[in-house]
């Protein structure tokens, strides 16, 4: 019984990043504030980058792909745009993960800047070139900037969760 409870608690904590990802993909109340567009940020990007960098087994690539499809349907974009952008970001994170010997939040943050810039460029150009959908590039740039600025703060919160997951696994 005790063993079952321990494994359940450990499993629950490991599932939190995945639950956050799908909650954000499915949920209407996201972090795009229409009246304060300069405060909008993309938490999904932070979730994907952080957890793929820390441990890709917690946030499977298949789930990232599915979350992208859900996001496309909810936002009304051609299905496939978000999965590609999410997976490109996950690719950056996985690449950095293989090269990093001593991970640190500051280093992750620095790498996050070019990663999100490339990811959002891919998103922007797919919509413009292949589907002729106009996107407010100023709002997108602001969103990217705020997402970059918030990465270390949310990263600290995720560090706590990551430590809990590791502790629960080792109990």
């Amino acid at each position: 019984m005790v063993l079952f409870r321990k494994s359940f608690v450990s499993r629950f904590f490991s599932l939190i990043p995945l639950l956050i990802l799908f909650f954000l993909a499915f949920n209407e109340t996201d972090f795009n504030f229409e009246k304060l567009s300069f405060l909008s940020f993309n938490l999904i990007y932070i979730v994907i980058f952080y957890w793929v960098l820390k441990n890709p087994d917690i946030l499977g690539y298949g789930f990232i792909f599915l979350a992208g499809i859900v996001n496309d349907v909810i936002i009304g974009l051609p299905i496939g745009v978000s999965p590609i952008t999410y997976l490109v970001l996950a690719g950056f994170a996985a690449y950095v993960r293989y090269l990093t010997v001593e991970p640190s939040l500051i280093y992750d943050w620095i790498v996050f800047v070019p990663s999100i810039a490339v990811t959002n460029s891919v998103y922007f150009y797919i919509l413009i070139i292949f589907f002729d959908i106009k996107v407010n590039h100023i709002a997108l740039a602001l969103n990217t900037g705020v997402t970059i600025l918030l990465y270390p703060f949310i990263g600290i919160l995720f560090n706590f969760l990551f430590k809990i997951i590791i502790v629960q696994k080792n109990v």
């Binding site: 690539y61 298949g62 496939g80 996985a94 280093y107």
Partner: protein
């Protein structure tokens, strides 16, 4: 981090081709799958549309259910705020009611006169068309794309291109009709272009969504003398919409003419979708 050419290629290979312990797919395989999905978006076949429509319906409904807790919190806050504003609104409403009573008398007179004139010109307008009232299922409130999801689809007779009204004001058109839901592209979306008529001057123009609360008036006639406060209606040019659906008033922002909408596009709840059927027409 030391990066030699070998390290680079090994890291790239490991990142994109290697599967983790619990991973079922490699990143490259999923990126290829995404590209295939994107290519399928361009293909317009009956079976693909059916699958697309089913997937979207399921996701919309799931999203609606998962947003209930968040929406409940937001609506609770709004309710509390509303209670504080009740008295103020009561006073304003009272004075408005008096004004409206006066206006009603004028309207009754104008209505009778209008009916007589209509008989003469034998014209049809939006009020002689059937409409379907639907509820806004979701409003994503994205700063990039302005659209809402309605809780009715082609099962209820909604079709792509149908005009959507908030009360009697034009707010957008249906761009995607699924079996149980549909998407409305709002008039403030960057991709929205609506042919409009500006009265009383009678100018024709194109209203382009600005991504915010206003839309820009483009392709106005040369040497026009557009007045601020003029009313903008759908022109019906090209047979896309019915003519004469009110949209908003002309405003001057900087040196450009914009349209301030009559309807608050952030507060859409129940909307009317005008079908192409005339009241009393045969099916």
């Amino acid at each position: 981090m030391v990066v030699s050419r070998d390290d680079f290629s090994i890291a790239i290979r490991s990142a994109f081709l290697k599967k983790g312990v619990k991973q079922k797919f490699s990143l490259l395989a999923l990126i290829i799958a995404s590209i295939i999905l994107l290519s399928l978006e361009v293909i317009n076949s009956k079976s693909l549309n059916f699958v697309r429509s089913a997937v979207k319906d399921v996701i919309y409904r799931t999203s609606f259910v998962t947003s209930i807790p968040g929406n409940s919190i937001v609506s609770a806050f709004t309710k509390i705020q509303n209670y504080f504003e009740v008295y103020e609104e009561y006073e304003t409403t009272k004075s408005k009611l008096k004004q409206l009573e006066n206006q009603q008398n004028q309207i009754n007179y104008l209505k009778i006169e209008n009916d007589k004139l209509k008989k003469i010109i034998n014209n049809t307008d939006i009020y002689s068309h059937e409409s379907i009232t639907t509820k806004v299922l979701m409003d994503k409130k994205s700063p990039f794309l302005k659209s809402v999801i309605l809780n009715k689809g082609f099962k209820s007779g909604l079709k792509r291109g149908m005009p959507v009204l908030d009360g009697s004001y034009f707010v957008g058109r249906i761009t995607e009709a699924n079996y149980l839901s549909s998407r409305v592209l709002l008039i403030n979306d960057l991709n929205s272009k609506i042919p409009v008529l500006i009265e009383p001057m009678g100018y024709q123009a194109i209203m382009s969504g600005g991504g915010d609360k206003q839309a820009l008036l483009e392709f106005l006639p040369k040497n026009h003398q557009l007045e601020v406060g003029s009313v903008v209606y759908t022109s019906g040019t090209g047979g896309v919409f019915f003519s004469g659906i009110p949209i908003g008033r002309v405003e001057l922002v900087g040196k450009k003419f914009h349209v301030k909408f009559f309807s608050d596009l952030n507060q859409l709840y129940l909307v009317n979708v005008i079908t192409s059927k005339l009241i009393g027409s045969e099916q």
